[in-house]
Symmetry: C2
Subunit: 203 residues, 2 copies
C-alpha cells in the first residue's frame, strides 16, 4: 500500500491528519504539485482527474478523494471513530463534514486559486469575480460555525471527527488565500486552538 | 419524521430517489423554492444554510445535506446497500459519489445558477465567466465517465449505488442548465437509459 501525497495542499493534509489520529502509518510517495507533477502522464494513469491524494493498494486498486481514502481506513480501523457512531451520529458527522467542505474549504480554495499569482498556470482561467463572490460566503460561514461552537466542543458534536479535520485544514489554508479571520469569533478561536494543538495537526 | 422537500431541484430529488430505491416512505413537507421559501425566517431555523432537503426526526433533531440524509437511512435500512459493501467497496462508492458530485453535479449547478435568468435573485452576484470556465470541465468529465462505463454497468462498479443517483440527477439537470450532451458517448448513454428506466427515477 502507498499513499500519493502532495505536501502542504489541503486534501493530502486531511488524509495525513486522519491517519495520525488513527495511529496508522502508510508509506508516502511525494507528488510535486509545485512542478504540476499531478498533471503528468504518469500520475494521470493513477488518477485521471489529476488530483492528489491517491491510495494504491497492494493489488493495484486505486482510491482517490481524500474523504474516500479516510473512509477506507475507518472501515479497517474503526477506533477511534472519526465518522461518527450510530445512525444519527454518522449522519451528523457527514452533514458537518459536507457543510465545512462546501462552504469553507472549497470557498477558501476558490479564493486562493482564482486570486493567487502562483495559481495562474494551474487554474485556467482564473476568474477573480468568482473569488470575490465567494469571499463573503466564507466569512458568513465562519460566523455560523462560531455560533454553533458556542454549544459544543467539536464541529459535529462532543467528539473530534473528520469534520474537524476538514475545518482545521480550511482555516489554516486561509493564510495563503489571504483571508483574514474575522475578529470576535471567540468560540471558533477556542475550537481552533484546541484542534491545532493536537499532535495530528503537524502531520 | 418529516422530510422538507424542494420539488425538482437536484438535491431533494437525490433523497427521494434514494428512498424509492430503499422502499422507504417519509412524509414530505414542500418548501417552495420558486418563492425562495428556503430563505425565509421559518425555514432558516431548520437549516441556517437555507438549503433543502432537511430531515426532521421525531425528537426535533435536524439532518441536512442530501448525502447525510441518505446515509442516515442506509444505517437504519442497510439493504439494498447503496453506499457499497466492505472497506474497498464503500471507499469506491464514496470516491465516485464525490467525483460525480464535484465534477458533474456541482458543475452543472454552477452553469445553471450563473447563466439562467431565473436565478438572478437567488444567485447574487451571477458570475457568467465562472459558468463559462466550468462548462468545458463538465463536458470533459462526461467523457471520462463514458470511458469508465465501458468496463462496468454502474458508476462505482457492478451494483447500483448512490453515485448513480447523483449522476442521474446531474445529467437530467443539464437540460435546464442548457448543456447539451456530447455526441458519441455510447457507454454513458447505455448507463443513462438503464438508470433513468428504474422506477425510482420518477420519484
Amino acid at each position: 500500500m502507498k499513499l500519493y501525497d502532495g505536501g502542504r495542499a489541503p486534501n493530502p493534509r486531511r488524509v495525513r491528519i486522519f491517519l495520525a489520529e488513527k495511529g496508522i502509518e502508510v508509506p508516502l510517495v511525494q507528488v510535486d504539485i509545485g512542478k504540476l507533477e499531478q498533471k503528468g502522464t504518469e500520475f494521470s494513469r493513477i488518477n485521471p482527474l489529476q488530483q492528489v491524494p491517491a491510495l494504491e493498494l497492494d493489488d493495484g486498486a486505486i482510491i482517490t478523494e481524500s474523504i474516500a481514502i479516510c473512509r477506507y481506513f475507518e472501515e479497517l480501523h474503526p477506533e477511534p471513530a472519526l465518522f461518527g457512531r450510530g445512525a444519527l451520529g454518522t449522519a451528523l458527522v457527514e452533514m458537518w463534514q459536507r457543510r465545512v467542505e462546501f462552504h469553507l474549504l472549497q470557498g477558501v480554495q476558490y479564493v486562493f486559486r482564482h486570486t493567487h499569482p502562483a495559481m495562474k498556470e494551474m487554474e485556467v482561467p482564473q476568474v477573480p469575480a468568482w473569488a470575490e463572490a465567494t469571499r463573503p460566503r466564507v466569512l458568513s460561514f465562519l460566523r455560523l460555525l462560531d455560533r454553533e461552537l458556542a454549544g459544543r466542543p467539536f464541529i459535529a458534536g462532543e467528539e473530534f471527527s473528520v469534520a474537524d479535520i476538514t475545518a482545521l485544514v480550511a482555516v489554516q489554508f486561509m493564510k495563503p488565500a489571504r483571508i483574514d479571520m474575522p475578529e470576535g469569533l471567540a468560540h471558533l478561536e477556542r475550537w481552533y486552538n484546541s484542534v491545532a494543538a493536537r499532535p495530528s495537526a503537524s502531520a
